[in-house]
């Protein structure tokens, strides 16, 4: 410490001497570089002011008393700046710590979502889920049972960030305890609703759509808890219809009934499930219309399900300059044969 003080003193003195001699831009540039070094060495503004005065006093003998005294005022003012600077550093350290905690939490959250590929002869599945921040309030799931049924789900916690992510993991754990209801969309949502109602604040809501495809009779059975409608694509007519079902959002009331619906899929037909982060993307400042989304899906429909969702995400991400406002989840399930 003492040593660096002495060498700083010498450096500062050389710098000031050179500047006073020729007032060159070069010396000023030197000072600018020097300031970085001072900050690295944790020198506070008040120490810098005091360094300046003592060097100056040595170089210019007999400084007028007023000049020397005026530094008292400057020093006093600089103490405040020094404190603000230190506080800023400590807040920055704390932010870095929070960031790294969040990174770990986000990784844990990711591991809750399925990531294995499902490659089947019966269906083609694709999903993309991207959080707006580090953690996501969107949930998705896909799973295959022993009869070949493929269950798919998208849920959206109203809210963002850490609280939403915590609710999302609750849905995941609740789903895991209900394996026998994976072929009963209504009963599944009723059970989830009970869990959510009991465990989360009354000002948090979760919407969800769950369905499963039975490759033996080609029916898709589904139910919705106030979730953003999806789409069904009819390959023969080249037409999109809304996929919706009535049902209250999860967590509002303990006893809610959900009535499942069903539809037949022909080869090439597909189901689209999404979170409202998709429809709340803004292009040119306006929310995209569902028709625009349909047009995009149609444009890419010759691709695999995974390619379609990836392309749509990329296009929408770019259209809003890589600033997602809400968690984005898009899932496509297509009957192959």
């Amino acid at each position: 410490m003492e040593e660096t003080k002495i060498s700083m003193y010498q450096l500062y003195k050389d710098m000031l001497t050179s500047y006073l001699a020729n007032k060159s831009e070069h010396a000023l540039y030197h000072a600018q570089q020097f300031s970085k070094e001072m900050m690295e060495k944790d020198m506070s503004p008040e120490e810098t002011v005091s360094l300046h005065l003592s060097v100056f006093q040595e170089l210019a003998e007999d400084l007028p008393e007023e000049v020397v005294d005026s530094f008292d005022i400057l020093l006093e003012v600089m103490i405040g700046y020094g404190l603000a600077y230190r506080e800023h550093q400590s807040l920055r350290d704390r932010q870095q710590q929070l960031e790294s905690e969040l990174t770990v939490a986000a990784r844990m959250q990711k591991s809750l979502l399925p990531h294995g590929e499902i490659s089947l002869d019966s269906v083609d599945l694709g999903v993309i889920s991207v959080p707006a921040g580090k953690m996501s309030g969107d949930y998705y799931d896909y799973a295959l049972d022993e009869h070949g049924n493929i269950g798919v789900a998208v849920a959206d916690v109203i809210g963002k960030g850490v609280p939403a992510a915590m609710s999302m993991s609750m849905i995941k754990y609740a789903m895991d305890t209900l394996p026998e209801q994976r072929t009963q969309p209504g009963a599944l949502l009723e059970n989830l609703n009970r869990v959510v109602e009991r465990n989360i604040d009354s000002d948090m809501f979760i919407t969800m759509m769950y369905g499963f495809y039975d490759p033996n009779n080609h029916y898709f059975h589904y139910a919705s808890a106030g979730h953003e409608p999806g789409f069904v694509y009819d390959a023969v007519k080249d037409e999109f219809r809304n996929l919706e079902a009535k049902g209250l959002v999860l967590g509002v009331s303990p006893k809610v009934r959900y009535f499942p619906d069903q539809l037949h899929l022909d080869a090439g037909d597909f189901i689209v499930l999404l979170s409202d982060g998709v429809t709340e993307c803004r292009v040119d400042g306006e929310f995209i219309e569902r028709e625009q989304l349909v047009d995009m899906i149609r444009k890419y429909k010759h691709l695999t399900a995974q390619e379609i969702v990836d392309e749509i995400f990329q296009e929408l991400e770019k259209a809003q300059e890589f600033q997602l406002r809400d968690d984005f989840t898009l899932l496509i399930l297509r009957r192959k044969v």
């Binding site: 008040e46 005091s50 530094f71 103490i79 020094g82 404190l83 603000a84 506080e87």
Partner: protein, 133 residues
């Protein structure tokens, strides 16, 4: 006998008097101008808190020595409302002056040793020491 000064704080005049006493002692002990300014800033913050939140109280300033080191000790005492959540108050960014670095965390930074005791409806006592190097 070591120097000890008591200053009653019940107006901004008291704050200035406490600063003056602190600066005088710091100078006598041999602190440089930067540390003098740091010590007086800490005194200001503590005295202002007394004035603002407890209406009145006292700042004591004395010389301390410990294993050959000399230092200035500031004790701020009041019988005001006390501080409810000490941990929050000592967090950066909590002060009403938010983000300007001063406040109690600032005092802690300016000084070497810092101790705070506070009891709701009974008062607050803060001790801070700066050692001469």
């Amino acid at each position: 006998m070591q120097v000890q000064t008591h200053v009653d704080i019940h107006s901004e005049w008291g704050i200035v008097a406490a600063r003056q006493a602190g600066r005088k002692l710091a100078r006598e002990i041999g602190f440089g101008s930067v540390d003098q300014a740091r010590i007086t800033t800490a005194i200001s913050e503590l005295a202002r808190n007394i004035y603002l939140y407890a209406n009145k109280g006292q700042i004591q300033i004395e010389e301390v020595t410990s294993s050959g080191k000399r230092g200035v000790k500031i004790i701020a005492v009041d019988e005001g409302p006390g501080i409810k959540d000490l941990r929050r108050v000592m967090e950066d960014g909590f002060t009403t002056s938010g983000g300007l670095g001063a406040g109690l965390p600032g005092v802690k930074r300016l000084m070497d040793d810092f101790n705070i005791d506070s009891e709701l409806d009974a008062g607050t006592s803060i001790t801070a020491i700066k050692w001469l190097r």
